[in-house]
Structure formats: structure tokens, C-alpha cells
């Protein structure tokens, strides 16, 4: 949060700043190590530690192993329910996607801003990141669909029992709804995270400006805003988990289309 001239800018938290390597270049593009890259590394390190701690393969799982098995079992059940036995091959991909989005969302919510000089950054609040995740999912759907069914994959766009005169129209509509999927997938996660963080920073601005304006204003404005912030923070933690789940769920549904063709 930047306070320039007493005005608190809720969009400042999304600024990508280079931390080091400002002069690194590949083919004319700057590849400096940014705060976005740092938080991706932190996310990966946390997932790595979490998974490594739980992969002891004990017959009677301890607490940590039970937590890890809870996550893996959750995703593999979801894949089995949505795709069937053929979905087993894609479970690692969907699991990585789910864990990365979940941990990145949660790391962005962590209150590490109370340490002076540190700023939490939500990796998934940028369309470049979520868009690339959506494009990867969509590419896998296209590659699997065309590799498995060849040109027969286009029958996905004509539901069973469509009357012949309706086929061109239905084909266009289904094709359009298919092509819009990567955009909706990436946009949903990006906007949900961005909106939540803007809301929290706007409320934080109320608290800070109210405290600066004196004790009377602080009691009327800052205290209710602060209590509301606590509630909204809990709601945002729920949204973090729901958005990660929805991304994984929709990816598995799109994979189901590609594998089973309706």
C-alpha cells in the first residue's frame, strides 16, 4: 500500500517490481527477478516441503501424511467421478494445478506486511499468470482430443439428436462456447483474487485514515471497518479455496469432453 499525499492507493499492491537482475536480458526482453517470481518460488517451496513431509508411505498415516493424502485423495476422487478410469493419467496435472493455485492464493493472503519492508504479493491476481495456466489446460484438452479422436473430435460440437437443419447453428454456438473456455477459466481466478484484495485494501484505507483523523472518527469509522475486514478476510480464505477447486473442477470437466466426447 502506498500512501502518497494522504491518499491510499488500493492498486499499488499489484505492482510488479524487479528485485534484482534489472539488466538481465534475453533477445531484448528484460527477465529481471520480480516480486511475482519470488512469490512463485515461495509457493513452489511450500508445496515441496508439504508434499515431502507427507510422503513417508507409512501404513498408519501420521497427521502430516493424512493431510497430504487428504489432498491427493480429494483430487483423485474428483477425477474419477468426472472422467472415469481414463482420468487417472491426468490426476498429477490437475493436482499440481490445484495445489499451485491454492497455495499461491493463500500465500497472497498471509499478513506478512506487518514486517516492515515486506509486501505480500498474490501471484494469481495477474491475468498473465492465470491466463497461462488456462492456456496450458486448454492446450492439453485440444492435444488429447485431437490425438485420441482425430477429426472426429469436432462431433463434440454437435450434441446427440440434433435435428439436421439446426446443425450449422448449434455447431457455431458450441464452437464459440468451447473457444471462450480458456478466457473464462483464466479471467475468473484473476478477477476473484483481484477484487478481494482491492476490497481489503480499501477497508484498510478506511481504518488508517480514520485513525489519522482523531479518536472520535476512529471509533465511528475505523472500528467497524476493522471488524468488517476480519470477516472479509475469512470470506477471502474461503474464496481462495473455492477458486482453486473450481479451476481444477472445470479443467477436469473439459478433459472429460476431450477424452469421452459427451
Amino acid at each position: 500500500m502506498a500512501a502518497e499525499g494522504g491518499k491510499i492507493d488500493p492498486m499499488h499492491q499489484f505492482l510488479i517490481e524487479p528485485l534484482f537482475g534489472r539488466t538481465w536480458e534475453i533477445a531484448g526482453y528484460n527477465i529481471a527477478f520480480t516480486n511475482s517470481a519470488l512469490f512463485m518460488v515461495v509457493t513452489l517451496a511450500l508445496i515441496w516441503v508439504f508434499m515431502l513431509g507427507g510422503m513417508k508411505r507409512a501404513l498408519i498415516p501420521g497427521r502430516w501424511q493424512a493431510a497430504v493424502e487428504g489432498f491427493t485423495g480429494f483430487i483423485s476422487n474428483m477425477m474419477h467421478a468426472n472422467i472415469g478410469p481414463k482420468g487417472k493419467a491426468f490426476t498429477p496435472y490437475v493436482f499440481s494445478l490445484f495445489m499451485f493455485i491454492l497455495v499461491a492464493n493463500l500465500v497472497g493472503m498471509m499478513p506478512i506486511g506487518i514486517v516492515p519492508g515486506l509486501h505480500a504479493f498474490t501471484v494469481t491476481s495477474h491475468l498473465t499468470v492465470t491466463g497461462v495456466l488456462a492456456i496450458i489446460s486448454f492446450s492439453i484438452v485440444l492435444i488429447v482430443g485431437f490425438a485420441k479422436h482425430g477429426l472426429h473430435f469436432f462431433s463434440l460440437f454437435i450434441p446427440h439428436g440434433t435435428p439436421v437443419p439446426m446443425i450449422p447453428l448449434i455447431f457455431l454456438i458450441e464452437l464459440f462456447s468451447f473457444l471462450i473456455r480458456p478466457f473464462s477459466l483464466g479471467l475468473r481466478l484473476f478477477v476473484a483474487m483481484t477484487a478481494g484484495h482491492i476490497l481489503l485494501k480499501v477497508l484498510a484505507g478506511f481504518v488508517i485514515n480514520g485513525l489519522n483523523a482523531g479518536a472520535g472518527i476512529a471509533a465511528i469509522v475505523s472500528l467497524p471497518s476493522f471488524i468488517l475486514m476480519i470477516g472479509i478476510t475469512l470470506l477471502e480464505l474461503l474464496v481462495c479455496a473455492i477458486q482453486a477447486y473450481v479451476f481444477a473442477l472445470l479443467t477436469s470437466l473439459y478433459l472429460n469432453d476431450a477424452i469421452n466426447l459427451h
Binding site: L187, R188, A195, I242, L249, L250, L253
Partner: protein, 75 residues
Amino acid sequence: MDAEAAKLVGAGLAAIGVGLAALGVGNVFGSFLESALRNPAAADGQQGRLFIGFAAAELLGLLAFVVAMILLFVA
């Protein structure tokens, strides 16, 4: 009305869309709960569909939010 004021009014109008999406999301969860209480045994199997409906309803509200943000910061 000058362009800057029209942008702010437009962003405010876009916020109505976010509120309407709240109706949609509430309807999804409300209808689910209503039928889940009638037949609790079948409720667990429908959780995936619940979240698909939630995602579809939510997306349209988020699009209204995107319109507001584009009006405020990009246009």
C-alpha cells in the same frame, strides 16, 4: 457531461451487475440447500454440479467488475 464524469458513472452502473450476480449465486446455493434438505442422501453426489453452477453465475458478475475496472483505470 464530460468524459471523466461519464466514466465514473459508467463504473458505478457496472457495479449493479455485480449485485445482480449476487442474486444468481445466492439462488444457486439456496436452491441446492432446499433440495439437499429434502434428500440429504443424494446431496453429496451433486456437489460438483453445485460448484459448476456457482462458477457460471459468479463469472458474469466478475465480468461486470472487469468492466468497472476497465472504465476506471484503462479507458
